[in-house]
């Protein structure tokens, strides 16, 4: 049975009809056309679907949409402010951290949550912070470079 709920996505309140079993990932992609959040495993194993829930990074495939009511949801589409990219987005481009790019949005969201709570992180702390996000192209090297770079211009 579908139920209508209100979600606050990227600062905008949206009414959506969801099944109790619908994941936040499903609702973002299929009901709201927010295609930047990717599905790659659907079991909380890869991090491609990472979004922010009240500023915390979560796997959106592991969160029921109903459980996200009353919380602020931020997706990659919500990072751009007044047409200006987030420093992390700039840094990922600058550092060459993007290859196939399928993990990129989830990786940026995980890094966003991390940088909002950590000043001047060490490389080891950065690696720890993104260890729940898999990438098969880059070896994470330039991703760590990008997050370090963004941490200095925040």
């Amino acid at each position: 049975m579908k139920q209508v709920i209100t979600l606050e996505i990227n600062g905008e309140r949206r009414e959506v009809a969801v099944e109790p079993s619908s994941t936040l990932l499903h609702v973002l992609r299929e009901e709201n056309d927010l295609l930047g959040t990717k599905q790659a495993c659907d079991v909380g194993g890869c991090g491609c679907c990472t979004v922010l829930l009240d500023g915390r990074a979560v796997y959106s495939c592991m969160v029921f949409a109903m459980a996200a009511q009353g919380k602020k949801i931020t997706t990659i589409e919500g990072l751009r402010k007044d047409g200006k990219l987030d420093p992390l987005q700039e840094a990922f481009m600058e550092a060459g951290a993007v290859q196939c790019g399928y993990c990129t949005c989830g990786m940026i969201m995980a890094a966003k949550a991390f940088l909002s709570s950590t000043q001047s992180p060490s490389d080891q702390e950065i690696r720890q912070a993104i260890s729940g996000n898999l990438c098969r192209c880059t070896g994470y090297h330039k991703i760590v470079d990008a997050i370090r770079m963004a941490s200095t211009i925040r």
Binding site: L35, A40, D42, F92, V98, Q99, G101, Y102, L134, G139
Partner: protein, 770 residues
Amino acid sequence: MSRMNIVGNSVPRPDAFEKVTGGKGYIVNVRLPGMLHAKILRSPYPHARIRHIDASQAEKLPGVKAILTPAEVPQIKFHPVYFSPSTAASMIKDMLILSDTVRFAGEPVAAVAAIRPEIAEAALELIRVDYEALPAVFDTAEAMKTGAPQIYEHAPNNIAMHPSFSFGELQRGFDEADYVFENTYRTQRVHTCYMEPRVCVVESDSGGNLTVWSSTQSIFGLREKLAFALGIPVSKVRVVKPPYIGGGFGGKLDMGFLEPIAALLSLKTGRPVRIEHTRYEDFITTARNPIEIQMKTGVKKNGTFTARYAKSILDTGAHTTHGAVVLMVHGFFGFLLPYRCPNQKWEGMTVYTNNIIGGGFRGYGAPQAAFAVESQIDEICDKLKFDPIEFRLKNAHTEGEQHPFDPSFALTTYRFAECLKKGAAQMGWSKRQPAGSGSGTKKRGIGFACQPLWVSGCLGFPDIYEHSGAILKLNTDGTVNLSIATVDLGCGQNTVLSQIAAQELGVPVSAVKVTYADTDTVPFDAPSHASRVTYSAGNAVKAAAGSAKKRVFQVASGLLKAAPEDLEITDGRVHLKGSPENGLPLADVVKRAESPCVNMVPDGMQRTPLDEKGTIMGVASLAPTSNPSPAAVEFVEVEVDTETGEVKLLRVVYAHDIGKVINPAGAEGQVEGGVQQGLGFALMENLVFDPSSGACLAADFLSYKMPTALEMPPDIKCVWVESDEPTGPFGAKSLAEPCLIVPAPAIANAIYNAIGVRVRDLPITPEKIL
């Protein structure tokens, strides 16, 4: 343009902006009006005959629009591999889109298209299949025994193929040897783990014409394979090029079951049909074939090979797919060719089992071979007290020699020795301690491995496509549209090809835009595979740009009152050679060519010459003239915890004769990604199965362990040896695959150096260390 101001620089990726802001271009995002979603019913049995399928209950489920069973599917046997013609004699055609016999747990049995994926999923549960279970076999040795379950009639003892090649006199070689070494090495089944699942959308029209969107490494490969399996002409299939895909690494180098199933469901319903693999479906339909390598090697005291023999047994699973070509690449480029030896024999066996099917994976048989060859060379050096670098150099090919694979080529540029020397210096090889000599519980060791000979494409291989094409069209604002069939898997193919076009034409790289392409509108290109794109497609792009440039000079010669041969283009300006101030913007030349024949000007009518008219473009479709070999060496330092068995990779130095680096940041990215995949192959990854049922036990990212950022070494250095290959675009050769061929044996050799223990089967897990 004489100055190399574009090629050789880390120009930014044109697709990076789109990817950091959401990445709309992935095929997972393709949505069409009226689109249906299909799901595939898969066999729980590893080997069974289907007696009957009853889909009547499923058909009644509201929202179900069509069901596909084997009875409605063309029974045309095909092979799915994109780079080889469907009719190639060397390929084994043993697949059907849906068959009444299933040969691995997970083989498709039927499919449902419905208005929503959950409905299709629910309908699968309602399909009743009456299976007659058949005996199954999961081990290659068991499969080859007399009396083993026969998986195909065409393959007695389940041996799909048994190639054998020999050179010189093997026995004499062993008689001449001072030492003979015999070892067996084993590699496991691993998965490419591209992040974007395999996904396709197929649309059909009333004339039976198909349009296909698929996360694929080759649009022309898919067109041909799909048309063949459906029994329709290729002109009825149009495959749209994805602007980019979420990784491939060889795992999207064959037609999956999904594309023909979606096509048939679309033809049946008249609506677009989408199929997206679950991660489980990805894991069970493409993997690196496990190979057992029995190797016997004769050497002289002076460190030269006298005889080399190897027998390689490859588990190809339920269908051959890539298992025939992987075996040949493994034998030739992995075993026979990298080093010189007068007496050699290799034989290989591709063996059917009821395991999952294999696929392409970066390195394509060579990582398995390099693990055996490079491990054993170190074992030989240890016994002979021979320096491993000296040993390899003594047996290596040298620059200027005839190419050992195809005598019509030469090793014109070949700097293997330089890679070894520079890599060794960078790693500090001279400080290496004797094996197992460290004290304490955490012991460090260094080691290295080589891929002395590799390819820049497939030229010279039988039954493999190699030509590439490009259309380059100039716009009146001075920009350039580059239309190519080449798919960017993430490696930066679009970036590098744009750089080559910009450099040749003399425009800023930002002026080049890689545009829409499909199989109806652009020339053929072989797949993005085999380390071939920069070299092979790069040459085609360079030729197309060169031809457009020639036309620019013809049109500009009237405007600049100079002979075409006296002109050049720099930074988007056409000018007299050597004097950039005497010239005009390229845009003006294009405008002139595109302008009306007669223009109204204040003084009246002005006529422009007719022979200047026409869109300025360049078209090329060609095969490269050679297949120059790069060379790769990787040095690594590891730390082994002798109490826990844990191995940490601390440091990597990767040296590679690349000809010319087109984009340094992109090239480093290839190496760093190769280290991640190689580290996983060496220490962690294993697609394990239940040995009694053939069920995959690691088919998700929670149980299949691949390296995260925490396992990666913080220190990876690239040493580029630029040998300036004369047949390559701006001197370039290839890079991609050796980055993943060398890490596993380098790590195994470093582990030996750390603790004095040789592990001959992958992955080297803590249990094996302890």
